[in-house]
């Protein structure tokens, strides 16, 4: 279990603060290898079950791994590891005294995330959700400036979300007498008509929507991510929302069956429109920002709209697109946030003004940033294009042209967003070296970040292209296996 590997690392990191970076890296490498192993095992042998404490489900807590969550496990472990490696220096810079605490929280957060994904127990999911959230609050709260205030906001919203989810689980337990997901799923079909089931569903979804910052309950996200320390932002931004979307997929497809979720509820249509609103508003709000990380945060709000909308289209292409986008968006958010972290490391600021002439100073980081940007815009062969492709074809299939228009609109707005930054970085000279004509460029100040920060970033950027190129395999060999057969 990757979970256990990470736990061991956490404890070791606590004991021996000096080496906590090494231990954390080791632990996450272990987690990554075991989750990759798990993925290939699951793909060849079918789902795996691990019973915590040896109790047989439905009484004990079971960890259930199928292709879907094995895939997400790999993503989480990979993102966490890359970000860990890439931000070693900025962590050292930003929290010189609290390194031990930082890495402990970091690992606990990853444990929570991995746990959410692998658990097969509805209540256990809540506990792990809170583990991840509380460590997340702490990680963000460690930032400077307005971070504490933003975090407090996040705590309020997050807690309401989690409580709603808990309430939903309570109702489920009330009516089924079980907390095991598979068990609930087996019992539920007989009582779909019940009002309690309906409320359980609504509460669960409402809670998860809050946690994933689905418009209009996205208010906590932009500030929290913008003021978080770079190393924490690079971890939390790619993972939190995506894992919440995963939880939504899990609950809606595997606890409640697709027949119920899509046919009986009849909320697909309004939710897709809500997603349209999320995409449009997220994009427009991003356009209004003057600060790099904040802008990226609003882009995430729009991206959440992609995934939620794609999922609620309720057809195979749409859901495949949503799941693929969980993977892709995690990767591309990682790239842009890591690049932003690198910029922040050198420039000590991320307002647009600080980015002037940055191409000359940090060409490699910016190149990676451009790759991430292209992916978010949706330019082939980067992965963002392919998930967008599935989402759009799902929308066309479902006849939902509003969603198609929203996706295209947000592509265009993203193009504007990122090219504005690229323009600033590319054209505007440093303020202090402004007096030369354009044939004599200002003095070249090559100030790229150290290799240890660059290499993980480049690996992540490369993965965007690889993910794009191999997205066909990913979808046919993994995601389609993972989805229930009823979805066509």
């Amino acid at each position: 279990m990757p979970l256990i590997a990470a736990f061991v690392a956490t404890i070791a990191g606590w004991v021996n603060k000096k080496y906590c970076f090494a231990v954390a890296a080791l632990g996450l490498t272990g987690a990554l290898t075991s989750s990759v192993g798990l993925l290939s095992y699951v793909l060849t042998h079918g789902p795996v079950q691990y019973r915590l404490g040896g109790w047989a489900p439905p009484f004990g807590i079971a960890y259930q791994i199928d292709p879907l969550n094995a895939l997400i496990l790999v993503v989480i472990a990979a993102v966490a590891l890359l970000n860990l490696l890439g931000t070693q220096r900025s962590v050292a810079l930003e929290f010189s005294e609290k390194i031990g605490a930082f890495y402990t929280l970091y690992l606990l957060f990853v444990v929570g995330m991995l746990g959410i994904v692998s658990t097969g127990d509805a209540f256990n999911l809540f506990v792990l959700l809170e583990i991840a959230s509380i460590t997340g609050y702490a990680l963000i709260g460690m930032g400077r400036d307005r971070a504490p205030l933003a975090t407090l906001n996040y705590i309020f919203m997050g807690t309401i979300g989690a409580s709603f989810y808990l309430l939903g689980v309570g109702y489920l337990y009330l009516i089924t007498g079980s907390l095991n997901m598979a068990d609930i799923a087996a019992i539920l079909p007989q009582i779909y008509a019940s009002k309690v089931v309906l409320f359980a569903f609504i509460f669960c979804m409402a809670g998860l929507f809050m946690k994933m910052a689905f418009f209009p309950v996205h208010g906590w996200l932009p500030n929290a991510y913008a003021y978080a320390p770079s190393a924490a932002a690079g971890l939390i931004a790619p993972l939190t929302t995506k894992v919440m979307v995963y939880a939504m997929v899990r609950i809606a497809l595997f606890v409640f069956k697709p027949e119920f979720t899509f046919e009986q509820m009849g909320i697909g249509e309004p939710l897709v429109w809500a997603a349209v609103a999320a995409i449009v508003m997220g994009s427009l709000l991003a356009l209004a920002q003057r600060q790099l990380k904040k802008m990226l945060a609003y882009v995430i709000v729009a991206e959440v709209g992609y995934m939620v909308g794609g999922f609620w289209l309720g057809n195979r292409a749409g859901i495949s697109g949503a799941v693929l986008h969980i993977v892709n968006d995690a990767a591309m958010t990682l790239v842009v946030f890591m690049a932003a972290g690198n910029l922040f490391y050198r420039l000590k600021g991320d307002s647009f003004g600080a980015l002037k002439g940055v191409f000359r100073e940090m060409p490699v980081s910016m190149a990676a940033f451009v790759v991430g940007a292209l992916s978010i815009i949706g330019v082939p062969p980067t992965c963002g294009f392919f998930s967008k492709w599935y989402l759009i074809s799902g929308a066309i299939e479902a006849g939902h042209y509003g969603f198609v228009a929203a996706l295209l609109f947000s592509s265009l707005v993203n193009a504007v967003l990122f090219f504005r930054i690229i323009e600033i970085g590319y054209f505007e000279p440093f303020t202090h070296a402004n007096h030369h004509g354009h044939h004599q460029p200002p003095v070249r100040r090559f100030r790229e970040v150290p290799m240890s920060m660059l290499v993980p970033l480049l690996v992540a950027a490369g993965s965007l292209i690889l993910l794009g190129v191999f997205s066909g395999d990913l979808v046919t060999k993994v995601i389609h296996l993972a989805l229930p057969g009823q979805i066509t």
């Binding site: 307005r146 205030l149 705590i155 409580s163």
Partner: protein, 131 residues
């Protein structure tokens, strides 16, 4: 009318938690003082804990400990006689979670107080805008 009152009285535990939840929610949204907001959050969480505890409870039931378990194997266990322990156990975890959240929230509040010398949200916002 009788039906309505019956409905309310017979489900009093649910109404109780709903009211508590609303109080918590109200505090979180309306109050401007950060500590009051945190208190509201706690009330909100507690409401849900109460809800869980209440669904496990039964009238005239006792603790789910089988007193005559050893050596008296023929004694039948009547589920009606015992409360359902599982929700209660779950709530132990939920309480821990709530406490941890509270801890983080209070720690942040202290940090904010050090930074701005106030806990009133309006004043902090005014100061941020002023900068």
């Amino acid at each position: 009318m009788d039906g309505l009152f019956d409905f309310i009285v017979s489900k009093y535990n649910y109404w109780g938690y709903v009211v508590l939840m609303m109080i918590g929610m109200y505090a979180m949204i309306v109050k401007k003082n950060l500590v009051k907001k945190i208190i509201g959050m706690n009330i909100f969480q507690t409401a849900i804990i109460l809800f869980y505890v209440s669904i496990g409870a039964k009238r005239d039931a006792t603790l789910p400990i089988i007193a005559h378990g050893h050596g008296d194997a023929h004694h039948a266990v009547h589920a009606v006689d015992y409360m359902n322990p599982l929700p209660h156990v779950l709530m132990l975890t939920a309480i821990v979670v709530a406490v941890a959240t509270l801890g983080v929230a209070l720690a942040l509040t202290i940090k904010i107080y050090k930074q701005y010398n106030t806990l009133e949200e309006d004043e902090i916002n005014a100061r941020l805008r002023g900068r």
